[in-house]
Homo-oligomer: 325 residues x 2
């Protein structure tokens, strides 16, 4: 297996040796996916290469501030008119994550696989994979440093966006000294870090605030205060005009209460089924817990589906959680 | 006026030349005040100096993880038995901020003033003031670097705590390249950055969550969605067991809604008076706005008191805000 430095050199050489690239990322792109697509595009434009950027769907509107974000084609709006023989896939742990954009890959196309997911399965002719990188943007930061190019605020803002979003605002455990050093360097290129944090991490939609308010009204706790939970019904979702993505983050409220070890969000699917999201403060492995209900996830964030009405699901799950504490 | 480097050298010399120090910070100490007190204590212990650490009141319990946090005496619990002729004041913009601890300063004591507030009025025999430092911890980071001392996780954790809290988790506009570079260095000493972010920035008390829930239920917006507000009554405070500090951050919820330029929290003081907190997304200078009501603050965060019942205060203030948009 080649070293990271060798992979960087190989990737650099591939970009220098070829022309006319398609740059794609995963479906439902997040901050790192969009940033990484644009960072590769920015590099290719500096090298004077021909390239197109594509995603299966739209780019989140809150990322419109990014350099040429409007140049990432949305497949269902303005698809490419031809196929490409050189494809760069960023932030995709496996090939299927590119979604329907693969229709525009020529059969036998050369694929460059640039990614940070530990589960990356090593597809592609050229692989630039660093599982301990916080974001694909961190890998692209290293790749761009191997070129003799003058950086500007556009590329710095793109890379900072990837680091910021994939570390949850420098709060997740992937926030390494390397991440902070890169962030420092990027800020010195004029990145408006605080504005980005506001736009990407703090902004909420009105339905999000409304459904959060509904959920918090249902807050309950175990007698000794180590388990806390909230619930949301289909009627709440309807009343608030909320979509599933608006529930993101709500489970952190019960979890963040001082003394709570496990926080939960019960989302009623229908009369006989509830989706449970678990968050652990550290003591309880909620992945194992979720598995006992046929679900799964990570040690501190997991989920499962329980085939019971809400009034029965809550005491049933709380009892199982309390048993572990 | 001497340079920052000269001030660093002068402060270093003062510490080397003297012994038996009292280290104090401001009343109601925040993360930077506690961290800076402990950072000076850690330095003095490395130098083999005699010292005592003191605050007018208690240290917030969530900072108990800090090295020797329990050694900062609380004046009303375990006051010093004598006075000191060498006093180091950290994070205090003016001398009065030390509160009643000044009872333990000898008349004519030599005072070292280490602070980052732009409003620092230059008290003390030795002044180490850097107004563009994000935190007093940043200045102490520089000061400690001038000594030939091996750093460990204790001092790194203290300094990281000061940077983290005074930049709002690397989100405020004081988050400079220098801050991120120092954070990178501190993480490399083993600081558990993500755990600190959780404890210091994300943890909430039960009354905090309850009063947030009450406030969000009152959410209202201007017809075009650029002004949003919530309110809290004395009855809410009572029902939730909430103190004033539990209201911190609530005003950000209306402000963070997409499209909102000014977010407000109306806190009923009594039947005829309301305290209004203003937060701006940038367009409106809420300091100037607050001044029209006899209040004040910063351009993006300000407050004022309005002598009206809540039902009259809201439309009155909203009308003034809308006029500016």
């Amino acid at each position: 297996m080649q070293s990271y430095e060798q992979s960087l050199r190989q990737t650099k050489q591939f970009l220098l040796d070829h022309d006319d690239f398609l740059v794609v990322s995963h479906i439902q792109p997040d901050g790192d996916a969009v940033s990484s697509t644009l960072a590769v595009g920015w590099l290719l434009s500096c090298l004077g290469k021909k390239f197109s950027m594509l995603n299966e769907g739209p780019i989140p509107t809150r990322m419109n501030y990014l350099w040429e974000a409007d140049k990432i084609a949305n497949m269902s709006v303005n698809p490419p008119e031809r196929t490409f023989s050189n494809v760069i896939c960023v932030d995709c742990a496996d090939f299927q994550r590119v979604g329907l954009t693969q229709r525009y890959f020529e059969p036998g196309a050369s694929i460059v696989n640039i990614d940070h997911h530990p589960t990356n399965n090593g597809y592609g002719a050229v692989q630039l994979i660093k599982p301990d990188a916080a974001a694909t943007a961190e890998i692209l930061y290293d790749l761009l440093k191997t070129f003799d190019i003058a950086w500007n605020i556009d590329i710095a803002t793109a890379l900072y966006t990837g680091l910021l979003t994939d570390t949850g605002g420098f709060r997740y455990t992937n926030t390494t000294p390397k991440v902070m050093e890169a962030a420092s360097d990027l800020l010195s290129h004029g990145v408006k870090g605080p504005e980005l944090a506001e736009t990407l991490l703090e902004e909420m939609t009105l339905p999000q605030v409304k459904v959060l308010s509904r959920a918090l009204q249902t807050l309950e706790m175990s007698p000794n205060g180590d388990v806390a939970w909230v619930s949301v019904t289909p009627q709440d979702m309807l009343d608030c005009g909320a979509a599933n993505e608006d529930l993101e983050g709500i489970v952190n409220y019960p979890r963040n209460i001082r003394g709570v070890e496990v926080g939960m969000l019960f989302k009623v699917i229908h009369d006989q089924a509830v989706k449970v999201s678990f968050r652990s403060a550290g003591k309880v492995n909620v992945a194992a817990l979720a598995q006992t209900f046929g679900g799964g996830g990570h040690t501190r964030a997991a989920g499962a589906k329980v085939d019971l009405p809400l009034e029965q699901a809550i005491p049933h799950v709380v009892k199982e959680v309390s048993r572990l504490l």
